[in-house]
C-alpha cells in the first residue's frame, strides 16, 4: 500500500505532498520524504553507481527504512517525485508505471494557465487523479 506521495520542485520546495493513511502519522511521512531528497541529490551527483541506467528519470529504490520503502523519480526539469510504500515485495515495473502516470498527471496540472510555476499544486482534479493512481497501484500484480 502506498502511504505517501510527494512532488518536490527543483529548489527542494514542496509542490504537493499527500499521505494516504488512516493513522495520524503525516508528520513522520513528511520526514521520510524530506530525508529522501538528500538521497536523490546523492544519486544524481554521483552517477557512477547507477551504471547503465545513467540519467534515467526513474531512480529506483532510494532507501528502505524499518517500515517503509522509498522510491524516487527525477524529471528533466529537476522536479522530484517521491513514493513511500509499506509493501515489502514491490515490482519495479509497477513503480515505473506508477511514476509514469503520476508524471502525466503532474504535467497536466502544471499546464493549467492558472497554475503559477513553483507554487504548490492546489488543483482538486490533480488530487483526485493522484488518489486514483495510488489506488490502482499494484492491483495488476495482486490480481
Amino acid at each position: 500500500m502506498i502511504v505517501c506521495v510527494a512532488v518536490v520542485g527543483h529548489q527542494n520546495n514542496p509542490l504537493y505532498i499527500q499521505s494516504f493513511t488512516e493513522a495520524d502519522d503525516a508528520l513522520k511521512l513528511h520526514h521520510v520524504v524530506h530525508c529522501s531528497l538528500d538521497v536523490v541529490d546523492e544519486r544524481v551527483n554521483n552517477p557512477k553507481k547507477s551504471g547503465p541506467m545513467l540519467n534515467e528519470t526513474y531512480l529506483g529504490l532510494l532507501y528502505p527504512t524499518e517500515n517503509y520503502k522509498v522510491y524516487g523519480y527525477l524529471t528533466n526539469t529537476k522536479v522530484k517525485f517521491i513514493l513511500v510504500t509499506t509493501d515489502l515485495d514491490v515490482k519495479d515495473a509497477d513503480v515505473r508505471n506508477f511514476f509514469r502516470r503520476f508524471h502525466a498527471a503532474y504535467v497536466d496540472a502544471v499546464s493549467n494557465p492558472f497554475h503559477v510555476p513553483g507554487k504548490k499544486i492546489t488543483s482538486r482534479t490533480f488530487a483526485e487523479r493522484v488518489s486514483t493512481i495510488v489506488k490502482a497501484f499494484g492491483l495488476s500484480s495482486a490480481g
Binding site: 545513467l54 524529471t75 528533466n76 526539469t77 502525466a104 502544471v110
Partner: protein, 171 residues
C-alpha cells in the same frame, strides 16, 4: 491521444495577440508590449518543455538540451526541425529555420509612395515583424529555463521566411 487545434486558429490567435498588445494595451510603449508578449511565450515554453521531455532521460549538458529544442521540441510545435545549428562553444547558439512557420504567410507591406518614404515603410514593417518574434523567443527561453539553463534569446530575420534565433546562455 492529445487533442488537436486547427493551425489557422493558432496563427490567428497569435496575430491577434500581437496586435492587441501593440496597438491597444501598450500602443505607445512598444518595449513594454514586447516584454509582455515574451512573458506569455515564456510560460508556454515552460509548460511545453515539461510535457515534451516526459519520456526521455535527463540531459547531461547544454548542447543536448539545445539539440532537443532543435529536433523534438521544434517538430512538436512546427512539424519540422531547425535547419541549421551553429555554436561558438562558449554559450552562444544560433538556430536557423529556413522556413519559419509563423512568418511563412506574412508579407511585408510595401508602400507604393515615393522612394523617400519606402525606406520608412520598410523600417516599420521590420518592426512589426519583429513584434511577432518575441513570442517564439519566449517559448525557447521558457523551455530552456525549465530545463535548468538560464539564457537570453533574440531573433533575427535575414530574409523572409528564414529566421534565426540566437541563444546566449548565462554563465
Amino acid at each position: 491521444m492529445g487533442r488537436e487545434v486547427s493551425e489557422s486558429c493558432v496563427e490567428s490567435l497569435l496575430i491577434e495577440m500581437v496586435s492587441s498588445y501593440c496597438n491597444r494595451f501598450y500602443a505607445d510603449k512598444p518595449e513594454l508590449a514586447a516584454r509582455r508578449i515574451e512573458a506569455i511565450g515564456y510560460q508556454v515554453g515552460h509548460q511545453l518543455s515539461e510535457r515534451y521531455t516526459m519520456e526521455r532521460p535527463r540531459f547531461i549538458d547544454h548542447l543536448e538540451a539545445i539539440k532537443f529544442i532543435c529536433k523534438d521540441f521544434w517538430s512538436e510545435i512546427f512539424k519540422k526541425q531547425i535547419d541549421n545549428l551553429k555554436t561558438n562553444h562558449r554559450g552562444t547558439f544560433v538556430l536557423q529555420d529556413n522556413r519559419f512557420r509563423w512568418l511563412s504567410r506574412m508579407s511585408i507591406e510595401s508602400s507604393p509612395e515615393t522612394t523617400g518614404s519606402s525606406q520608412d515603410g520598410e523600417d516599420k514593417a521590420a518592426q512589426a515583424m519583429s513584434m511577432h518574434l518575441y513570442f517564439p523567443c519566449g517559448i525557447i527561453r521558457g523551455a530552456l529555463s525549465n530545463l535548468g539553463i538560464p539564457c537570453a534569446v533574440s531573433a533575427d530575420i535575414s530574409h523572409l521566411p528564414a529566421c534565426s534565433f540566437v541563444i546566449r546562455i548565462k554563465a
